[in-house]
Assembly symmetry: C2
Homo-oligomer: 227 residues x 2
């Protein structure tokens, strides 16, 4: 145990891929996708760009690693629930909240698909799908549908949050969109005008859960449990 082993907490830590990814997540959270710059990252880590490129191949890889870190954390806890349905619901909601908290993640996820991160989600959902009694030869298809819905809904929710900006008032935003819908051309948008009020009053999280339930009900309807 030399003196060097005692490191005072404020001292500059050695650079590492882990620290870089962590810093990247922080900057993305704080300022969105436009906020992650090698210049800014360089300053925050008190190095030159070359140091970062030693640990990370390029910006794309860094974004992928940041995304994977967030998703892995969201999936870390075993989802609780009495039934497979409840566990899918819990897993889905955990992802939804993670994407909501880090709303740059959604765009990354829908742009990477069969890459590193999606298999994590696929595996988590798939285990419960198989436990629901879906016939074996439908496992891939059904799991894909659930994952597609989760990512699609999360992405659109995040997109709304991004338009909104960090400080804005949600109720105000919904009211504004709702009013805009009411003013659409009645010839082209008769349906949308009809639901403008429902749109104003809806709750994103609840709506997402309703969607999950609807998809799960579809699974049961198309593949009734044996018996």
């Amino acid at each position: 145990m030399s003196q060097q082993a005692r490191r005072s907490p404020r001292r500059t830590e050695a650079l590492s891929r882990e620290r870089i990814v962590e810093a990247a997540v922080g900057m993305l959270d704080a300022a969105g996708e436009g906020g992650l710059t090698f210049r800014a990252l360089t300053e925050r880590l008190a190095t030159g760009p070359g140091a970062i490129y030693w640990h990370v191949a390029n910006k794309g890889e860094l974004l992928a690693a940041a995304t994977d870190a967030v998703v892995a954390a969201a999936l870390a806890a075993e989802p609780e629930g009495a039934s497979p349905r409840d566990r899918i619901r819990a897993l889905a909601l955990g992802l939804f909240d993670a994407v909501d908290a880090h709303n740059w993640v959604a765009a990354q996820l829908s742009a990477s698909s069969w890459q590193v991160t999606t298999p994590r989600i696929f595996e988590g959902v798939g285990r419960h799908v198989s436990a629901m009694g879906v016939p074996r030869e439908q496992w891939f298809t059904v799991t894909s549908v659930v994952v597609q819905y989760i990512l699609g809904a999360a992405a659109q929710n995040a997109a709304n949050a991004q338009v909104l900006g960090p400080g804005a008032d949600r109720g105000e935003f919904l009211a504004k969109v709702s009013t805009a819908w009411e003013e659409l051309d009645p010839d082209d948008y008769s349906f949308t005008r009809t639901v403008a009020q429902q749109m104003r009053e809806h709750d994103d999280r609840q709506q997402f859960l309703d969607g999950i339930d609807l998809v799960l009900a579809g699974i049961t309807a198309v593949h009734p449990p044996a018996g």
Copy 2:
């Protein structure tokens, strides 16, 4: 009728927002999102950047306009089908194919949400949802779920196509991913390994349709038609 009224087809046409958007779509199709540059656009239209900025506020607006143009074209034809379900299926498949043909569109769509383009899709789907006999107070929720699924599935499909690149062989790609899945850690990815073979043999378009059917079955299960 002056001489000027006769314009030979090959002569340089006046610049217009329409021509700019059209050129942008062409460049995005040819070279993906990275291929749309004001420099390249400037060259293609034989002008300076200032000319383009006269008609279009910035790159974001140009991308949104290009996206809207593609989606509007895909939705132009009244979807055919005997039942509301069939018409939803037709509409969804039209969108799926459009996103597949212009695979930069998906990322744009999931990043714009309640903006200009999504209401078009929402309206198209919603009309048929209401015709399915879903109770009025559920129209917004149910339509949202269908739209979220369509956009989510289309986005992930486009992401796969992008990784693949324009010239690549699809079967080869699926085989590679399938093999990668088979080599995953059995402790962490038992389910994914099990469906690796199904993944290799699946058809994207058919899988999408199965997903739509599953969602539609869910709607009927949760909201049985009155009677």
